[in-house]
Symmetry: D2
Subunit: 285 residues, 4 copies
Amino acid sequence: MAASIRLTDNRYGKSRVRLVKVERHATRNDIKDLSVDIQLTGDFEASYTTGDNRLVIPTDTMKNTVYALARKAPIGEIEEFALRIAEHFLQRHAHVAGARIDISENLWRRIERDGRTHADSFQLWGPERRTAAVHRDRERTAIEAGIADLVVLKTKNSAFEGFLRDEYTTLRETNDRLFGTAVKAEWSYNATSLKFGDLWNGTRETLLEIFASHDSRGVQHTLSAMGEAVLERFPAVSEIHLSMPNRHCLLVDLSPFQLDNPNEVFVPTDEPHGLIEATLTRSGS
Amino acid sequence: MAASIRLTDNRYGKSRVRLVKVERHATRNDIKDLSVDIQLTGDFEASYTTGDNRLVIPTDTMKNTVYALARKAPIGEIEEFALRIAEHFLQRHAHVAGARIDISENLWRRIERDGRTHADSFQLWGPERRTAAVHRDRERTAIEAGIADLVVLKTKNSAFEGFLRDEYTTLRETNDRLFGTAVKAEWSYNATSLKFGDLWNGTRETLLEIFASHDSRGVQHTLSAMGEAVLERFPAVSEIHLSMPNRHCLLVDLSPFQLDNPNEVFVPTDEPHGLIEATLTRSGS
Amino acid sequence: MAASIRLTDNRYGKSRVRLVKVERHATRNDIKDLSVDIQLTGDFEASYTTGDNRLVIPTDTMKNTVYALARKAPIGEIEEFALRIAEHFLQRHAHVAGARIDISENLWRRIERDGRTHADSFQLWGPERRTAAVHRDRERTAIEAGIADLVVLKTKNSAFEGFLRDEYTTLRETNDRLFGTAVKAEWSYNATSLKFGDLWNGTRETLLEIFASHDSRGVQHTLSAMGEAVLERFPAVSEIHLSMPNRHCLLVDLSPFQLDNPNEVFVPTDEPHGLIEATLTRSGS
Amino acid sequence: MAASIRLTDNRYGKSRVRLVKVERHATRNDIKDLSVDIQLTGDFEASYTTGDNRLVIPTDTMKNTVYALARKAPIGEIEEFALRIAEHFLQRHAHVAGARIDISENLWRRIERDGRTHADSFQLWGPERRTAAVHRDRERTAIEAGIADLVVLKTKNSAFEGFLRDEYTTLRETNDRLFGTAVKAEWSYNATSLKFGDLWNGTRETLLEIFASHDSRGVQHTLSAMGEAVLERFPAVSEIHLSMPNRHCLLVDLSPFQLDNPNEVFVPTDEPHGLIEATLTRSGS
């Protein structure tokens, strides 16, 4: 490489390692359905600059490692499995400086019949997914949990008024609009050994509850209330990032047809969409 | 157009007319979230052959019609709304010979909190969708209902043995495999005035119940049992078509790592997939 | 199965068998990048009704067969490869009544440098794909070729005027609109041994040429002219089906900002879209 | 908001503002087909914490602004249009601290006929897209250009040997493998007034040329060579980030069928894939 050019950052890994694990019990089976992404940093520069692969752990080996680790112990919560994968690479290979493991879990529920759940047949609960991310290096471990594609819609208690108007503003004020979004939330824990399942369920319920009950003056307002409630209820959460697209539902103008439209008939649109993001942090974190 | 060439078939319409309707009540709101496709046949040949558009109902008008009809009366079940749309075009325009209306409904449930459902906030229940198709011409009306993307997984009571072997067969027999699929079912009704909601729920439950409980010797075997049960339980259903991709879960070979794999660790794959389809009909239909 | 219920139709197979074949020559490599779908009909009823798999050719075997046939001879044109696959199943297994083989080919071109093409490196040419479908049973063979996702846009010589107006019509007439579409064309050949590559290239060029040069009075008008030209130029084509979504480009109303918009600034939309389809047939076919 | 909780970061805007602009000339039309994302930072905290929207520029206004600016002057290169949009928000609204504008351009070429290009009809050139990102605040302006989904495949001069082996390694060494990827490149310019079109074309050609001609010892090796060549040839580029998924083509084992496979028949797979990323920087930047 020319002297004037430096490799300033590099990482590599395997993405979308798909895994279904069935944990078989006497009277029921449990399943986990995961997609795992691995990214390593470390002493890999020679593979870039001279094609010297001696320190390159093939991404195919990473894939095999996921399957072997899945067999050697129960998966547990995805935060725990991500921790185990990250630890493996750091312990096994001294030249690995850091590992980032992202896991996305597809959620299945048991098929129900007359109020009883089936022991070994499942239905996909979607589009919602549970996510986790572990960043681990030689000094610290950061754990994030998350939820993606939590698609929700409010038909009441949602306004958007009193906003700034300039020469390009045509939007009307409204004190009663539809508010649809696909919540993406990612939050950081302040410890590495926690009841991750309970915390995830609690956070998810909090997000849904506040979204449903909030008297919204705008997406920003509700997003903030959702994040604040999570931080207030769960001391183990030190920070939360929320990203909420505004999936606009536009009121249809039916006046050309001599019809009114008292906030009833809407066109949902995906494109364009508003996109509102914020991070809320516990003071002292 | 050259004398030797004929326009033998033509149809046109509007696809993906998106509609959310909120039906507002004293103590709660209901919503419908639909995507409507319209296709008309009739006396449209001149628009193709000479560009004479005098009989062309613009697809933009079709879109407007959906919104106006959505305002004029409750949506009801999607089969009923599809019937109303089809009837409109046939009654309003004498040169329309036939209308096909396809509706796909996104399914939302109320957000729950402590066992109570929220009055006006919803969560998308997916990827499963409810579908309906109405074909109507001057002589008859055919109504189909359906379900799409009902993603299910059996972890027990699923075998695939005793199949034909030829020189290209490497698959092993198994009496215990994972069986994952995304059921697509479409069924025909023998009447146009039925309790479409109850029938849809009953059919959906039947499909899930048989999938979960069937002692499967193959996808074909379970598909057939599912269709048969629907026809047996619902006399209003005259025919059912089922399409079930086999979303293979491949057992991972862990032997290179000195690990066994007692039917626990699998790679789910989307590509390639088996695809099994069949139609079951009530005799005399 | 209950006596009153019959299995009236069934088929099964493997979808999305992905294949890249490199054909290595002294001074250059050629590639084919295909996705193959196989569907068989025949004496498979027992697998549905009783779970008797003795006549079931596993879909995994179908996949293996594609790879073995790809190795045994050059792929040739995709119509030829589809024919070979179909023939294999009919000749090898007496209980197979019919085979339908669909192939979709990703199109790659050689990377160019200073007007010279590279001998063994390629760039994907997309979204356009070449398609072929062979239906073969014990009596006849039907061959279709096609093109999918040929995305084109006309900015001149496109009108839509003189259409029917009813109480739901708000669309304005225009003699100068954008006309964007993703052409899907499928055509039938009247013989099984043809220069499929030349015919495909010629048909593709004809579709593009007529789309570009046609003085369009509507999507129907241009679609028909495109199909007619193909039938006129290529006697081996007996029928052509065209499906053209109208990917509307809506003129933006800039008048609230004291700006005119002389047919310059548009919002392209995917949802909803018009959908226009027709089949043109050579008389006597 | 509780005293112990702080809003530490926030941004909002409009995504996927779709725009087609036709620039009409005497003998030809030109088109631009863009998707624009806008994200603003500034004094928006009150909209989050108390629902006070007085400083909120509605995302609908952002959309209108894009269309108005598109009308007021030629689009030019997308870097220039992004600069104009960013400047508008900073100049017009004193409480806006920063604007990030991302533009993705769909690439169309003129339809050709007998070597002549058509004056006003176009075909989409895909999946490749041109991208640009402008970050502008009160102190500085950063301009990035990029390319996305440049899908390429090498069938020669690609090895992967001499890599690290551990207990989970099963991959075989190879000195002749297929190397397929979808290049994503983003590079920074060291000035805000440049010949962006020429630079983009030159960078794109350099990426293709080095990919095609490089004697690759691994994805890392080729990625680095591609980035280095761009920095060497274009002094205006201060840094380049490359992200290259390894879209594996797996050699099919045909030995069960008594067939060899001399590097000819492959299964391309999307899932899982390797993912290699690096940034190369000019020293002193």
